[in-house]
Symmetry: C2
Subunit: 211 residues, 2 copies
């Protein structure tokens, strides 16, 4: 099965990759013509991708002034975090019982996460994969898609945090405790620990940004 993906989608991911790589630092202006020449496409798909990123909160679009990478602000982090936390709790709630096979996979991811030293991007990828795996049983596809999109925001903050604070996430402990509760089929405790996990993460990042 061959798949033809629109150029705008490829450009979208390419721009995100550049932002994550730190190639496009916060507050940096993003000129569509530059990107177009760099990526070897025309301005049209580039602009479509940039408009989407602007709607998702990664870029800022001022009328007549084009696009710029959104600066990292604690307020935005906390706002997005509150939303994402709530939606992930909903997704976990809607998921039926988590099958043991998936719990095992979660543990596996956690072990890998604990073993990762220094590689910030790998760390973030694994963390996001952990969450995605946890919620992959949620039947509300639209919710899953929305969560996936919203992750764009915390990713940026986590990346900056892990990079500059030089600290790897301590989330593996939280993860383990959540898994443990799920193993016991104690949804109540799992949910509470999940909330706590999110709360702590948001606060940690927020405090760092406001340093």
């Amino acid at each position: 099965m061959i798949t033809r993906t629109p150029l705008r989608d490829q450009v979208y991911h390419a721009v995100l990759a550049r932002i994550y790589r730190g190639d496009l630092p916060p507050a940096r202006r993003v000129r569509d013509t530059d990107l177009a020449t760099q990526l070897g496409v025309s301005r049209t798909p580039v602009r479509e991708a940039l408009l989407r990123l602007a709607r998702e909160g990664v870029l800022e679009a001022d009328m007549g002034r084009g696009f710029s990478v959104r600066p990292l602000e604690a307020a935005e982090m906390r706002e997005s975090g509150a939303i994402l936390s709530t939606l992930e709790r909903l997704a976990l709630d809607l998921s039926g019982d988590i099958p043991p096979e998936r719990l095992a996979r979660l543990g596996e991811i956690d072990r890998e996460l604990a073993a990762t030293r220094g590689d910030v991007d790998r760390c973030i990828d694994l963390d996001e994969e952990w969450h995605r795996t946890l919620l992959e049983g949620c039947p509300n596809l639209r919710l899953r898609a929305m969560i996936s999109t919203l992750w764009q925001v915390p990713r940026r903050y986590m990346r900056a945090f892990l990079r500059e604070a030089g600290r790897v996430s301590l989330s593996t402990q939280h993860h383990a405790r959540i898994i443990e509760a799920l193993r016991r089929n104690d949804r109540e405790a799992a949910m509470q620990r999940f909330s706590h996990h999110w709360h702590r993460g948001i606060d940690e990042l927020g405090a760092w940004i406001e340093r």
Copy 2:
């Protein structure tokens, strides 16, 4: 203060208006060139608006096959409803105490809603305004924006329901009970009634779609 709004935004609202007016029924193909000529603009801003609507779930975009109005499906309604319900509960939770002045305004909207007979669009507008007013104290602006965007989906379903089922919403009773709880400063009860209100609404619409 003069404001120059991009054409894409005007086109966006124009297309939404046509969908609400029933001018563009579900499953109807939407040709960008047609819209461009009808609205007297070029294809570029039209396409930008359509891409946004597609991302918001109002339109469907198949690669190479353009856009079409998304058909109404109970599953989509329930999925969006679950998300929106949760987010509005979060927003209410984040709102501090609702000042009496706003409670009065909510009552006012409700009275107008109860007095509205037959005018479906007015009815939906008032209902949405009631919710917006209730949550306008929420400091999480991003959450408010997201809620506002998400309302696009239930609006379509409510409209179709009220039109064809010919029944005006019974939500004023629910609203009144929520306001009553808020007056007593009983957040717990208010939240519970708010949940109930959403649950009932979603079920009612869902059952009707699956008729």
